[in-house]
Amino acid sequence: MIKILLFAELEEKTGKRELSVSMEMTVEEIRKKLLKDYPHVTGLASAMAAVNEEFADESVKVRQGDLIAFIPPVSGG
């Protein structure tokens, strides 16, 4: 299982902080799946992705047991 984390606006608009997928996919494929499931959450298209707490490119393969997070533009400080 691959755990997906959503934050801020993404969490609010999907109503989910945590989701999961069972198949191994690339970051890009997971992003596309989420956009298909939640077409109104346009922020998913531009959010950065992190795999296992490190920023990751679209081509990175997300494996069983991995954790992928979608990170909208940050505003800490």
Partner: protein, 158 residues
Amino acid sequence: MTVKNFEIIEKPIEVDHIIRKVEDRNAGAINTFIGTVREMTKGKKTLYLKYDAYIPMAEKKLAQIGKEINDRYADAKVAITHRIGALEISDIAVVIAVSTPHRADSFDASRYAIERIKEIVPIWKKEHWEDGEEWIGDQLENNAYPLGVPKEEDVIDD
């Protein structure tokens, strides 16, 4: 308990506690940056803020900023604590303490840390106004992106 120099917490930040983490006999300066919750932004009145974070990654990224500072400024010691949850006007959201042998580096490193926090640390703030609320969507605190995508002129190269 080991001292954590890079921390996300939900309770009020004790500034002295952060400063103590960077004390050093060879330090000639400790620069402390305190980020607080502002009431008025471009004529809009904030009632309170809510911060959220991807805590484990945020702490990792704060530690990375500390390492970047160590690479740039010799013998620097860094501690950063960011608070999350509901914060009121004037509450302390972030404290950065940097000690260095000479004062110039401590000013520069502290500035470097706050700018990097706004770039790479997964922390988000939601503004609550009298007439609404919104997740603030960029690192410069100036614009929210209702569509989730920054306009081209808002994208910074650096």
